[in-house]
Subunit: 309 residues, 3 copies
Amino acid sequence: MDDTGPSASPGRASSEAGLRIGQLSRRVGVSPDVLRAWERRYGVLRPQRSRSGQRLYTSSDETRVRQMLGHIERGYSPAVAARLAAREGPASAATAPAADVAPTADLSALAAELRTALLGLDEARAEDVIDRLLASYALDTVLREAILPFLHDLGDLWSRGAITVGQEHFATAVITGRLHALARGWDAGVGPRAVVACPSHERHDLGLLCFALALRNRGWRVWYLGADTPAAAIDGVATQLEADLVVVSAVRAEPLVDAATDLAEIAGRRRMCLGGRGASPALAARIGAQALPEDPIAAADLVSAARNA
Amino acid sequence: MDDTGPSASPGRASSEAGLRIGQLSRRVGVSPDVLRAWERRYGVLRPQRSRSGQRLYTSSDETRVRQMLGHIERGYSPAVAARLAAREGPASAATAPAADVAPTADLSALAAELRTALLGLDEARAEDVIDRLLASYALDTVLREAILPFLHDLGDLWSRGAITVGQEHFATAVITGRLHALARGWDAGVGPRAVVACPSHERHDLGLLCFALALRNRGWRVWYLGADTPAAAIDGVATQLEADLVVVSAVRAEPLVDAATDLAEIAGRRRMCLGGRGASPALAARIGAQALPEDPIAAADLVSAARNA
Amino acid sequence: MDDTGPSASPGRASSEAGLRIGQLSRRVGVSPDVLRAWERRYGVLRPQRSRSGQRLYTSSDETRVRQMLGHIERGYSPAVAARLAAREGPASAATAPAADVAPTADLSALAAELRTALLGLDEARAEDVIDRLLASYALDTVLREAILPFLHDLGDLWSRGAITVGQEHFATAVITGRLHALARGWDAGVGPRAVVACPSHERHDLGLLCFALALRNRGWRVWYLGADTPAAAIDGVATQLEADLVVVSAVRAEPLVDAATDLAEIAGRRRMCLGGRGASPALAARIGAQALPEDPIAAADLVSAARNA
DNA sequence: ATAGGTTTTGTCAAGCTTTTGTACAT
DNA sequence: ATGTACAAAAGCTTGACAAAACCTAT
């Protein structure tokens, strides 16, 4: 097994913490006392705690310590080494020699870093990059320039067999979690109501999630039903809410085709849009819905503009 | 998911169940006592029972134990190892006991940490805490439970001389920056239009900023003019946009009183609300506006609900 | 920020600081006592100081010492060798930063679009333009070529009555928000510490914000106190942090004049610079501070360069 | 170069709690 | 088989300490 130990599987990502101080100490060759002192004095490490107060370190804490050791060996005092390590962030210093971390890294650099982090199963770093992206750029931009291109890539890589299913799952899980977090409180307020879902047998809902975020960002109230939702369920929610809009999206055409009859029935009573690569204008026409562009942001613009017009 | 046993398919489980504790113990090299303790303490194993109550383990229990041993060997404590093994196993979701880690982000703990960080002039840590808050809680919650109480405290501490003006300025600057960042893209979309400002001579606009965020979160499009805005300016923007609502907020009453005549003039043509501690119902009535509760979130609720009603 | 690599700009050097005297001594083979003596007598080295006063050398200090050693070996007296080394030093850092690469969007067109968007109260578009600016150009460039000129224009237009106060407030609010967001992580790293504020009764802090960003970009750690900060507050924070530098900036002269006595008191204990249009060399001299050019970027260059001189 | 004072940083101890394997009584 | 008890191991916090490294000043 590799030296990152327990971090290989996707679901574990956010709760990977588990190393206790003694073990970390043995791994990096720094006494527990020193580890605690470093935490207290420089705040380099901020391990999770168990309910009883025991420190639980992640493997990124381990690399952090190693970075510090590297700096110390190079002659820096522990205090300085700590600041340097802190500034390097969760990312590994080994690969980025002396590159100063810019306060405002540029968009494509951040996008690239996100990709590296996610394919490298480094969740902490991925979260950090997403934080920096969102801090520096508007949500639409982050989605359009970083998240969506990455998802696109991911599909490519996967279909070429260039990455493992585990990597794909991991990346998907991290992004999903993050986008969902952004989407809290979707249904509050005054905007028009949209019900948003993938049809039965369509399990890829990340594009839909981006679309939903963009739509929310344009003032809509969104009820997000997610992947694999039967047409009847969509209809039920839409009816209960008296939704102004129903959006159904799929990557492949089949799920939409299969649900076409039921969807047409809904479209007869309510504004409906079809999104995703699986939605052709022809199919939309047959169902009585509006076809949306493949790009989720553009789709949100279109939906939103149509209403204003 | 089923609750009858540890493996995914019930049928197979029962057909395989048969290992008794002594046998399993010898196979995996873990004493029966320990196996029982693990079951009791971590719930890793849930063997079937024979008629007489004896434990009957399946082969998947065996792999489960081996996984645990592997994790322990890699340095994890038995408690953590159990959690990890539970995650991996086929029956993960159903049987996994609550993880033993302290909740990553306890709201009040995070709020306290935010306070410590800001008063200690530690920006990086403050940002980190805010990140964690936003990652775990809805914006409304973060504002209501962490940001606003802190701002309140800040006023208190300052008036009691418990903190320096410098600390107050610093904290204000950090929070302002952060909230503004959250507010990007305020005017996009389809919602009703609100113009939001403090009157001339009112320079505290943080409460207003929270209100604006909450309002945006409820689907409104917001134009934020900020502190110290003359009534004429407010009117100009409101007219240019054909705003549906104008909100004016002040901590003290004077700025509102001073601007009362001009504001009344605007209120004659447009829905207007007065917010902040400086806004009394009496004053609002005189101006022809609606008084809002002091709490920005409640105010946003009210504004938003009134429109829906 | 530039993209020329880690060692090109003078400010960058200071962010690398961290070597303590013992380590430097071992590296170059000169005793700590001698290093201190050279510093005192010839001023060849001007290391940063840690909070407790420890000297923190950069790697360029190391080459400086080596140059001196070379000259001494060639027979010059230490005094002469020091002068020679001093003359050589700065020259080595003379590699000019490269221009921005391959602009994806035309700078002046984007600047114009920004202006249109902001004056038209179109926030979403403004944010998008800023995103594109930041994605294509270095921060310094964006500030110098787009943001600052626009702010300048804004003042002009306003004074000519060509725009309403509302437009001005709106534009200011958007830009403020954006710049604050870029400023995350201001206090990270190991660079020298700067406290940055406008004096009491000065409420325009946008120029200061640009300056602070530029300074941060040159490796300084910045504590931003913002507008309208009493001298006592500035002093308090500077003391708490043992800041290496205090910068006070105002658009008009009065606020600075009013605070002159208190500021002079601070300047007696700490390096201080005065910035903004309100800062005249005469006033600076009276206070015992250094006057900075009006242009925030140039000011940051000066502050940062002076340190290595 | 020396002297005298301060800061930094790794270590250690005391006192207490939690974890966990093992033992024992029912 | 179950539940309780127990003790060793490992942690936690607080506080203190001493060697090393620095600082200033003479």
